[in-house]
């Protein structure tokens, strides 16, 4: 009798060859294969003197509105804001990376500070590196701030390492629901010069309202961040959707009680 328990219940070596113990040692994969707790869209728009971003405060567990106080706009360094949608645990890891990055950059105290384009490049390297390990960080990220020449900076990177830049960008559902509205006022590079801060804010509020109407994983409570070209960052929290009208709902299948 074979007294080694690890050999019990295995295919017989004399028939099937020596057992490949790598199979025995293989554990479950630990790579993120789907997000669990998620945040929905982040939307952003350049205007003449800066960039404005918004993200609601909901963290969903599937279709369950699990947490309603999740902040998803992060100030990084002195004059950059990063907005993150997608998996919240991966977002918290990205927050950790960015905090470390800024702390280590500050050690030098030599007058050089990482600004939005630098943080964006770093994040896009991290995101693409992780997707190349087939272990992506399940997020879509917007980075806002100012460029080296002082003009507004806004760019996108996601879990695939896709990068692009535009005067108006939205992640997730916002890409379908908010982008058409934002592009009405800022579709091409340079359009932002014609937009005032007030116009930008009105557009952002309108988009957040539309998103709350139509995106079932959204919330009517959100944060609005502004980064000015002077390098000033403000994050206004607990903003509520105003002047909502749900009258349209009664004509739509799926809202309220179904009348066939």
């Amino acid at each position: 009798m074979d007294h080694m328990p690890e050999n019990w219940g295995r295919p017989r070596s004399e028939i099937y060859g020596v057992y490949n113990s790598a199979i025995h040692n293989a554990g479950p994969t630990t790579h993120t294969q789907q997000p669990s707790i998620t945040g929905t869209s982040v939307i952003a728009l350049k205007y003449d003197m800066g960039v404005m971003l918004a993200a609601d405060n909901l963290a969903s567990y599937g279709s369950l509105a699990r947490f309603t106080d999740q902040e998803r706009l992060i100030k990084v360094g002195k004059e950059t804001v990063v907005g993150i949608s997608g998996d919240v645990s991966d977002m918290q890891y990205i927050e950790l990376l960015l905090e470390r990055l800024i702390i280590e950059d500050n050690y030098e105290q030599d007058g050089h500070n990482l600004r939005a384009p630098h943080i964006y490049e770093y994040l896009s390297r991290v995101m693409y590196n992780r997707r190349s390990k087939v272990d992506p960080l399940w997020n879509a990220i917007l980075v806002a701030g100012k460029k080296d020449d002082g003009s507004p900076f806004l760019a996108y990177v996601d879990l695939l390492g896709v990068t692009y830049s535009s005067p108006s960008i939205a992640t997730g559902f916002g890409a379908y629901l908010a982008v058409p509205l934002l592009r009405k006022i800022a579709s091409d590079d340079g359009d932002e010069k014609k937009i005032t801060k007030e116009q930008a804010r009105a557009a952002i509020d309108e988009c957040m309202k539309v998103l709350f109407y139509r995106d079932a994983r959204s919330l009517d409570k959100y944060s609005v961040a502004t980064v000015t070209t002077d390098g000033e960052v403000t994050i206004e929290q607990n903003v509520r959707c105003k002047d909502m009208s749900w009258r349209f709902a009664e004509h739509i299948h799926g809202y309220g009680t179904q009348k066939m």
């Binding site: 030098e108 050089h112 990482l114 384009p117 490049e121 390297r125």
Partner: protein, 280 residues
């Protein structure tokens, strides 16, 4: 016979608190031909005197471009400088790749400083036998750093390393108050004058043996060698060594047509010249 028993490695202190191997490394710099660096408010310039081992051979490269905004001039063991410059290039490239940012000059300099210091505290290693002048331009303006094998890095308005560099330093000390406001052309001429003061007797600055590196505001690091330095040498005028010249036989120095360069052309005196060269 006297033997120094505290110089067998680079990490053991002598009873007087000295690290002899590190001091010998500092001596190696003085065996190399001179390099001079200086900065204005907008530019950093390095000039260097190249040597050829023999008549038929080429001249040893003295100025190395690291990145668009950064370059070095060396004095001492050129192979060691190659190791350091390759390292600096890697650092510069990774800064561009990871952060989309030209590496800050002070950071790449402190990186090689740390690298050199490690050799003075790790058994079985030797200090680098080369001194560097690092000239660059970043967000905080133009910079000139001197790097030493001890791991010391210091920032300067003007600096000189290598054989007879004391003469160049003397020139720089007498004229550095003009550097901040100097035009690029004036700055280079100042550098060449300082370099000329390091020439051995009967030697001249020639297109073959002079290198100039320029970097600054809207100016990528540019290396001038061979034919490209002729124009600069013409602006300099007198390219001969001032060593051993007596004041009487000094007809009309270089105050020829480059009058705007400085209102006070150096008197070309030969006083403070200290031949540092001990032995090879």
């Amino acid at each position: 016979m006297f033997r120094n028993s505290y110089d067998n490695d680079s990490i053991t202190y002598s009873p007087t608190g000295r690290l002899f191997q590190v001091e010998y490394a500092l001596e190696a710099i003085k065996q190399g031909s001179a390099s001079v660096g200086l900065v204005s408010k907008t530019h950093a310039v390095v000039v260097a005197l190249k040597r050829s081992a023999e008549e038929l051979g080429s001249y040893q490269k003295k100025i190395i471009r690291i990145d668009d905004h950064l370059g070095i001039a060396l004095a001492g063991l050129a192979p060691d400088a190659r190791v350091l410059s390759n390292f600096m290039r890697q650092q510069a490239m990774s800064s561009r790749m990871i952060y989309n940012r030209p590496i800050p000059i002070s950071r790449v300099v402190s990186a090689i400083g740390d690298k050199a210091q490690r050799n003075t505290q790790t058994y079985g290693r030797r200090p680098y036998g080369v001194g560097l002048l690092v000239a660059g331009f970043d967000e905080t303006g133009p910079h000139l750093f001197e790097f030493q094998p001890s791991g010391t890095v210091l920032e300067y308005f003007g600096a000189a390393i290598g054989a007879r560099s004391q003469s160049a330093r003397t020139y720089l000390e007498r004229n550095f108050d003009q550097f901040p406001e100097a035009s690029l052309e004036d700055l280079v001429i100042h550098g060449l004058r300082a370099l000329r003061d390091t020439l051995a007797q009967d030697k001249q600055l020639l297109a073959q043996n002079t290198s100039i590196g320029i970097v600054g505001l809207d100016t990528k690091f540019t290396l001038y060698d061979n034919d490209d330095v002729r124009g600069w040498l013409e602006k300099l005028g007198d390219v001969g060594s001032t060593r051993g010249r007596r004041p009487p036989e000094e007809p009309e120095p270089e105050a020829t047509e480059d009058a705007p360069v400085t209102d006070a052309p150096p008197p070309e005196e030969t006083d403070t010249v200290e031949p540092i060269e001990t032995d090879a």
